[in-house]
Symmetry: D2
Subunit: 474 residues, 4 copies
């Protein structure tokens, strides 16, 4: 296992293939566009050596039986998946933000654990053993992995093979003896800046003629041919500044990945051409991913609650004034968290050893995750008032202006000083309309996709039959 | 274990102390005011001998290790509580209604299992051994127990001891060497008509001067001095008729219990005067009760979905027309069900052997149970149309009138015949504005009470501290 | 103008062609199945002679310039339509119920005023003059008119002409020199029991081969060949009883109309075969009808608020405890009321003299009317508690039982006596799950129909164009 | 009347007393921090000379009878207030943003019209004639006025006089023969950058000892002693850039105003010390302001709908896929718009000549305005997908990078090219989580304040009385 400093050091050794604003980002541990996310992950590494946090941030390895960073292990029991959820909530409570590099890539590798087992059973393909070796490599080196699922997609009414640009979907361009050459664009990928490795998987179910897109593999983040373009998010320039106009405890990183003929050696390929397993992968991945994400938005909601309480008190108002609404926020948070637990424990063990949460409840939770936090945002803004809703507050530079800064700050003094109110207001702004928006609506897939799964899994005919029986209809 | 016929037989042997419409109800297995509820419970007894249902409707006894009716056993694991939830959902799916006599009394006895253990630990009182013997008696005779918690209450702004009428709360009137004499009124008690025994417990936390109300005990339903008055519920006269104006697969039973100096022997007393344990009882009972009730409303919602689909199809419309709304209903159902599972598995074992679900998640679920089904009702009525919303449809007697019944039925013929449409419309009416309303809002306590628990259990200060840290406030 | 006594007298002179429970109802002013609705309408007649109410319940006739019952006049200005809305709210506040016989028939005649004008303009058909004479007849005799729109419909996926039973839709069976013979079934028709006349109109847009269904006319309620079957509504038997288990201030009446070869003289025919005007009629009627119905549900909501306050206070709780929720109810009520005013004043004068509210806002209001009252019901039940939600309370007969009635009532005594609590609880039950449900969801057509109109009327392309311009898209 | 060029010219003549980022902004017509808002107002001036728009953007003067910019006139009829609402909706449809300089100041002057009339009636104070002269001055010079209501406030639990810093509220520091000297801070003031004049009014009701804060007056924007600090809003730096990362059709301006001993001559004082009229002012102002703001959020919602349709189509999806949700958005928009019309027409004429909308309906509308748009934002983001929700999309600089811009754009090509998708995505981001957020929650006061008014105005006792009557309670 690595500590934060060791982790940062290994990141700095990677080739600088990240860009933003049309320019290379250089050292991701220092550039302010990525530093906050890296800092957040570094804290997760340090947590392995903190007696209070170690049980959450590490787990027993399924390969070696040794203690390992949790994101390097297989989730073999509901307790393992629940610990994942609890870790996510703790991360959000500490930084207010998403920790991409300890999340999606890990979950994809877990889903691939079961999928490669199935492919091997059916075809004797040997993927599973490769994946086991890769897992061992991650554990031995204590690596962080981003996970790339979503393709650039292009025209939504056309399949992958029918796009105006073939690069809209990541695909195998060439098969060599020693590996494959891949090409295309993955979009909106979380945590790449703070990861050593990137796991790539198909973004959806695939048809027979779409075999070129049925590819899963792992690559180093700085592999030759890969260009990573960090995206522009709400108020992100603020995150790159000094001062208190944005909190500095953590931050999101999301990127587009341009694969310009990237070579992947055979040992790192976990699916190649088995189009019929893309849907299986998606179904296992989403069940495993959407159960714990309720903990993410709960954790962010916890911070929203805390910031709303603090800001109200800073303005001289008691928590009681807003208690009915704060309780409503808590109910929303605990609902997505609790539904996740329900999905996890209603799951099943896969013969490969993976624990798979109940897909129906996981997808129901995705819909909740995509709606309930919006009510929390509205309430938080209502409690926070106008300085939160439209961020309508003087900037750090204005509040510290020698000319008029003091006059502004003095006039804002309440139960707390003006700076405190500014910091809290900016935190709530950041959480609800700024860089801290966690992407709960579309992150990990759209709620519409989840609704489709609910439609497919719910036993409508059984319900209709029950109704007929009760009604006495023949 | 008993089958349904044996169960009915034992019920008929009880003293006829039930009344409705100012008159004795006589044989509860035959009087139409109670028959449907008794039938539903009888089916649960029969289920013990049906290979497909036995695993749900029976459980291993914690006392004898033998198979017993589930409602005669202790819930010792999350799996036990989940099985309770699944049984509830199955019951609702089969009858559309609440099964009082297999529910609250059983859960109260489970909560008392832990509470009496605690009282004994603290005071050496011997209640726990009594309760164990009572459990053994229930198991040996395969009995059904109703549970009486809510008092008549009187003036809500006054405590139990300060009411205009002391009988507004059930209380100990006299302590004798061999037992106690109790008196007062319990209100809105479910399932009494179909139960052999009634478990009585305090309806809320109690203060030092309210010791007379701190009493828990069990009595035979037909005990001397007890008068049971069945309540009048929406459209309940219809349930007592022939024809299809109401479904006949099951039904609710709710009653007021008048205790007119009822004697309870010592052996059946499980709390007496320990006012400080009333709150503990309530907290354990509600945690245990409000986790699985999500399954009740889910089960009722399943039938609502089924009836809506069937009614739409009977009118010539396809399920697709309403799929987005049906999916919304399913999401609501699975949310209360899934949250219950979350609460159950996030719980803890009590040293007495009882499994106690997480109280925070249980009470969050209570709030969901009190709100989400209302959206389902609205959607079901929207799909069903005017003949459901206001029941605006000719009666059975009119649809079968020799004078004009045929003309009516012919004009209603669609994809199904008029009778089928009538039966389905009446089922949806019954579920949403009739005798089938399950009491999800206030059954098992009010959502406001649950919100108070959420307020007490949520770590607001921790959240505020996290917000301060992220905002960088000193 | 007539007073209530004169009105009742004329009703009693009609042929007794109403049935319920398979039996003739006899005198509608006395039979308890219809008496409450008749009483409510009688009070509206009396209001013409009450100085405080006369301005609302009467209006200046467009024909004679004299004061007339409002429901005998043409709505010529937004103020006229607003007065209709205010009258509806006042009616609901007084009786808690829908006043069918002063509502839909009148609105249909108003819509026909414009439609017949248009048909005459296009075809010189002479319908408009007939309608004017009919209006004069109504005014001179101070008559109440029910309005019949909805057909029995049969299979929703088939047109009127393709039904298994031709009688599923009201149609012209035979054309004679002096009139027509009509046949078929109209369903869920409000207020017939309290009306002297019935106006019949097409239930929707019609195609070229559906000319037989394009028929509008007026008939006496007791016309030969017409059988009226009153429907069975939630808890309606209770409305027909003595005691306090249901309020007695008013009530709904809804019926199925069986036309068994009914003759309509030419003078009373206002449309016959002009299928292309059916859609125009529907569009004018719904615009005019759905603007003021917000006042109905507001008026019912007002009573719900009042009953919730009273019941809470009767139980010893202050209004303050629930103020946040009561305010929410008021906001819902005023929203449907205010939107109606918006729709009314955003309307236009038709060349015939009729004022037509803005159809877009009227249909938006229909959707609000179909959703917001459901939240009010939930809140009212939450405030009222379990005795409201499932009506779980002893019946009048039990509360007055010589055997145990006193014991029950004494135990219920709180800030008010037990009878008061019972009466208020039964009122809230009646309003939310009983005979007082106003049919806001489907009454006057479904919200889905309204959504279709919104879809048709909203200028999507314009909005898209504006977005393109702002985004700078070429 | 002025055209846009003339308007800009007069703005440039003002003293440069605006600051942002700690620096003077210089020419507000050119500095990108304010230019967009100025451009938007300039277009409103030009509209006076555009035959299609003139009727909306101008009105007949109440003083001269001549055509004047609408924001220089008195609203004397419901039609006048409705035209205000329609103008707001048109402005939002054209720019997607709030037009501060044609809004609040104007509405305050209208409210002062009635208030000064009342003060004069009671005290013969002569304010009204001054205000009339000021109105004449505005009309003659075609000026734009910002309106400053909200004070910095400081501690919300303390009154104005008890704040730690007296400057938390704007107040009269000194009374001279020729005028007054004022001092303090007004916060979150809209449209100052684009206004010639600023109207200042009390921010709430005032007590007897708060006479110093009871002051209303008008000043030139560049008056000596006034420093204007523009606030930092979400993603506002983006608005100040080239490229398509933010739309450039308009924008908000919000500022803090530092009054450092500003002199106001008597002729421009409209209230001074009459603390008991502060509440009257607030009640008239809010009634007049909150009726039309439903049109603002409707107009913004229209653009949201348009952008969602366009973005979906650009991605290759048809409008139909999302029609149910688009219709829901339209219903929300038309509800706030229609409720405003209801409030307007349900109003009353004030003896001074001002038309005052119904305060109850206006405040109900404020609550709707503070909630319904949040659902629209969520739906818009759901339709738009991840590139909208978290703005997770490459920046303009990245999409135009010579190194990888073409690869990115090509991969995004769908039914439209990549740039089009970027522009539309950025518009939706801007509308929902960026610079275009209109401040509907707290703009013009908090929804909690509106709820208080609803509580005060709703006739609870009357409703309780109606319920008692219907229930038959004595």
């Amino acid at each position: 296992m690595k500590n934060g400093a060791q982790y940062r050091k290994t990141l700095r050794q990677l080739r600088p293939n990240l860009f933003k604003w049309g320019k290379p980002l250089g050292d991701v541990t220092k550039n302010l566009a990525t530093k906050l996310h890296v800092d957040a992950i570094a804290a997760c590494y340090d947590a392995a050596f903190d007696p209070e946090q170690a049980s959450l941030f590490t787990a027993e390895s399924h390969l070696t039986g040794k203690r390992a960073h949790r994101w390097n292990t297989l989730m073999r029991s509901p307790e393992d998946v629940l610990a994942n959820a609890r870790m996510k909530r703790a991360q959000f409570q500490r930084t207010g933000a998403c920790h991409g590099a300890t999340c999606a890539g890990w979950t994809m590798l877990n889903a691939l654990w079961a999928v490669t087992w199935e492919v091997d059973q059916a075809r004797g393909s040997g993927y599973h053993a490769r994946l086991e070796r890769y897992f061992r490599y991650l554990e031995e080196n204590g690596l962080a992995t981003a996970g790339a699922l979503t393709d650039a997609k292009g025209n939504r009414s056309l399949g992958a093979a029918a796009q105006p640009s073939i690069d809209s979907y990541l695909h195998v361009k060439e098969v060599r003896e020693d590996g494959i050459v891949v090409r295309g664009v993955k979009a909106q990928i979380c945590g790449v800046a703070a990861a050593h490795e990137i796991v790539c998987v198909p973004g959806g179910g695939l048809k027979e003629d779409e075999g070129a897109f049925a590819v899963a593999f792992a690559i180093p983040r700085d592999v030759e041919g890969l260009t990573v373009v960090e995206t522009r998010r709400p108020s992100d320039t603020r995150d790159e500044e000094q001062g208190w106009d944005a909190p500095k405890a953590g931050g999101v990183s999301q990127a587009f990945l341009l694969f310009d003929d990237v070579f992947v050696p055979n040992e790192r390929i976990f699916l190649q051409g088995e189009h019929e397993y893309a849907a299986l992968f998606i179904s296992i991945f989403t069940a495993l991913y959407r159960a714990p994400i309720g903990a993410c938005v709960a954790g962010q909601g916890d911070v929203m609650i805390g910031a709303a309480i603090e800001l109200a008190q800073a303005a001289g108002l008691s928590q009681k004034t807003f208690q009915e609404r704060l309780t409503r926020m808590a109910i929303n948070n605990e609902t997505t968290f609790g539904m996740g637990i329900g999905a996890i424990f209603n799951g099943k063990a896969h013969p490969s050893g993976l624990w798979i949460p109940d897909p129906l409840l996981s997808h129901v939770n995705k819909v909740l995750v995509a709606t309930l936090p919006y009510e929390n945002k509205r309430i938080a803004q209502e409690i926070g008032g106008g300085i939160v809703e439209t961020g309508c507050f003087p900037s750090y530079k204005d509040l510290t202006s020698p000319l008029y800064g003091k006059a502004l700050l003095d006039s804002l003094a309440a139960a707390s000083d003006g700076e405190t109110r500014a910091r809290l207001a900016r935190l709530l702004e950041w959480l609800t309309v700024g860089g801290g928006i966690p992407g709960c609506l579309n992150g990990g897939g759209s709620p519409d996709g989840a609704r489709v799964v609910v439609r497919v899994l719910e036993p409508w005919k059984k319900f209709a039959e029950k109704a007929r029986q009760i009604a006495g209809v023949k």
